[in-house]
Symmetry: C2
Subunit: 234 residues, 2 copies
């Protein structure tokens, strides 16, 4: 199937860590790539498993998360097309430090450890690109630690809403409109708490007039007012 090959190359060219490669190099890599399809919620791999290679998101979204013995989850990152996953364990030889699952239906391209390491040795710029991507990842993790360590659930929720508004907020009648994650359970996992506290805090923010909810859609009438909330208890 020649289609797979060319499609993969197109996808790869859009991936941050592979930008800058020539067309023939991309083609070479694409040949060694294995596309895998996942249905919503399906696991890609679990923490602790030995790492056999890295993945590139072709379509759909994935979530990287840790789970606790008691069933709680903490989301570390949600990534869409063009993102690479598990670049790091490929290098340090250890197991996957966290689990990854598909959020919606998704297609990932698998690149084996060997192929990728070889590529990095022959193309030093790739390694530098990886380092850049990993830098961003590290910053995000430090940000999560900072929030978990210093702030309250309310604060994290407000901050989450603002991030969402900034990334995908639409101007709507009376404010900025955003769409919450599918469930409060999921939102809770993303800000490091439990379902009930998300529910309560959302209600409270609404009661205070800082947000207006209607199902999963939320309108923020005044971004500044919500931001002020962050400063208050830092």
């Amino acid at each position: 199937m020649p289609d797979t090959k060319t499609n993969s190359a197109v996808t790869l060219s859009k991936v941050a860590i592979f930008s800058g490669l020539t067309e023939s190099e991309l083609g070479f890599l694409a040949q060694r790539t294995v596309p895998r399809h996942y249905t919503a919620g399906e696991m890609v791999f679990s923490e602790g498993e030995p790492c056999s290679g890295l993945y590139v998101v072709d379509s759909g979204h994935i979530r990287i998360f840790k789970s606790s013995a008691s069933g709680r989850e903490q989301v570390l990152s949600v990534d869409g097309p063009g993102s690479s996953v598990a670049e790091l364990p490929v290098f340090d030889g250890g197991n996957y430090p966290a689990s990854v699952a598909a959020v919606d239906d998704a297609t990932l391209l698998f690149v084996s450890k060997q192929d990728f390491q070889a590529l990095c040795l022959t193309h030093p710029q790739v390694a530098l690109k990886v380092l850049r991507v990993v830098g961003a990842r590290l910053r995000r993790l430090v940000g999560i630690i900072e929030e978990l360590s210093f702030t309250t659930v309310r604060h994290r929720l407000a901050s989450f809403l603002l991030r969402l508004a900034q990334k995908e907020g639409k101007r709507a009648s009376g404010g900025t409109e955003i769409t919450l994650p599918a469930s409060n359970q999921e939102l809770a996992a993303q800000i490091g708490t439990v379902r009930e506290l998300v529910s309560r805090n959302l209600s409270r923010l609404q009661a205070e007039g800082l947000i207006q909810m209607e199902g999963r859609s939320v309108v923020i009438p005044n971004l500044k007012a919500l931001e002020a909330e962050l400063a208050s208890a830092e």
Copy 2:
């Protein structure tokens, strides 16, 4: 001063990310290296500052930490000789994501961004080594997130004591002996809480017979018993 040059080269050869370089390459790098001395508690750099290069610990120890507006601190890592610091911001061009200070009197070697990037391009293995080191760092951060998100102060404290026992515990009369960080304040920053809770929880562990304290030295009579504590509330 010829001493500086050769000493630096000796130090550099012991640094994980530079292992594998030839002697002449190390010498070359050592020439471009600037040794800086810091007294206990002195800041090396603060989060948010633009990143001008990376540091290698020659002697002494440094702590990497975030601080909150209200004055609390969260330690991300404490590193000794042979560790490199801030490898990552060198690559992604951003500012330092956290602050670094000397724990005790320490000497660090400074390597400028330019020199280091050039080195990575001419020596691809260096970039791979950096990736390996960064992998370890990332794992540690994920571990911190996991603990902050899922566990209690008591749990984190027990886990901290066990880590310490494993790393530097000495067999002593009646158990394994370890030495706590200089102050409860510092210990609190390392496990993500406040001074008072550390004090209380240590007292409680002692009351329960899980540890015996005498000043800053702690004897753990039964490692298994303390480990059991971890499983209880995961």
